[in-house]
Subunit: 210 residues, 2 copies
């Protein structure tokens, strides 16, 4: 990958959005798009789109904009989406079940290959064709399957312990849906928190004051 230096996480998030609209454009048969169009579609600005892309290279043609297929390929390369990733789910509760059935993960290159639980009722069975293991088996299974990413959807009370076990199993990327957003990963690992409760509290703030 021909780039160096620290890139803002905000840039990375926006690249995901750009990629989404570019794929829609491609599906519509569109061949080129300008930074202005991409910005319009992602509630951003043309300058922001160009700046974000410029950290990684020059992908456009002056006067013409960006070739959509080329830019999709470039962004997929940047984001590491030019491959498939094996993913584990930890905690097959209500939210875990809906995540497993969520089609888009597969479409963007992420495959669930293992579910980890502590409930003896669930262990040994499978859900949507994916085997359910005891959480104690995580180190073995993750190594055998080379799983590097886990979605954690256990109750907040268990999450601290589960994060530690997940890291001990060799997982380096955690998508945390447990509601507990206060875990600091070691330097070689990464965590992304998704917290609908906090989001709805923000809405409350804006409705109260504006």
């Amino acid at each position: 990958m021909p780039f160096s230096g620290k890139i803002s996480p905000l840039t990375i998030q926006r690249l995901s959005l750009y990629l989404r609209v570019l794929k829609e454009y491609a599906a519509m048969g569109k061949v080129a798009a300008s930074s202005g169009e991409i910005a319009e579609a992602t509630v951003s600005t043309a300058a922001q789109v160009r700046k974000d892309l410029s950290y990684f290279g020059s992908f456009g043609k002056k006067g013409q904009g960006y070739n959509i297929d080329e830019l999709i390929e470039a962004i997929e390369g940047i984001l590491g989406l030019d491959r498939r990733w094996k993913v584990a789910l930890v905690g097959l509760g209500k939210i875990g079940q809906s995540l497993i059935q969520f089609k888009e993960f597969g479409q963007i290159g992420f495959d669930f290959v293992a579910i980890f639980e502590k409930d003896p009722e669930k262990i040994g069975k499978s859900f949507n064709g994916i085997p359910i293991y005891h959480i104690d088996e995580m180190p073995r299974v993750c190594e055998e399957e080379t799983i590097l990413i886990a979605l954690v959807a256990v109750p907040a009370e268990s999450s601290e312990e589960v994060f530690q076990r997940v890291l001990d199993a060799g997982i380096r990327g955690i998508l945390n849906l447990s509601g507990r957003c206060c875990f600091k990963p070691p330097p070689h690992a990464f965590i992304k928190n998704v917290n609908v409760a906090a989001e709805i509290e923000s809405l409350s703030y804006y409705l109260t004051h504006f």
Copy 2:
């Protein structure tokens, strides 16, 4: 509310986190906490915590930190959580069902009072005691019930149309789980996007490059 001027959305998000740890502290019987403790627990810094709070007033005592009960009350006031909010769900699919059953919304002051669907199989019944209406009834029901916040969990294809209908029904705060993050609300309305697909793509980036 004794404050004015524009507050960063990042500050608002962090206030939610501070509130969470403060409530935990309160449940543990703790009486006071310093900015350093709160920072430690929320993966922030002491200066950041103090700065965030200082936009809204002085809630601490020099040398002593913050009284936990007082600070909880202050933050709840700031975020508009010193009341209950009625909330609608639009789209009772897999993710919608798990959101309805998600206990924490009730604990922090948000009550689901209506579900809107377009599937005739579901309409007229109820889920978890909450009535399911046809989406055409949204304007009437939202007015009668004074619902101002909606969680949108319909498929991405329908989301554009649904956003418009939700706004037309008088909703002013949208928590969008549809995966389509490109909707620009009118000035009097607010949207918060939650997108697990984009989050997992960020993880891919970090695992690829670090």
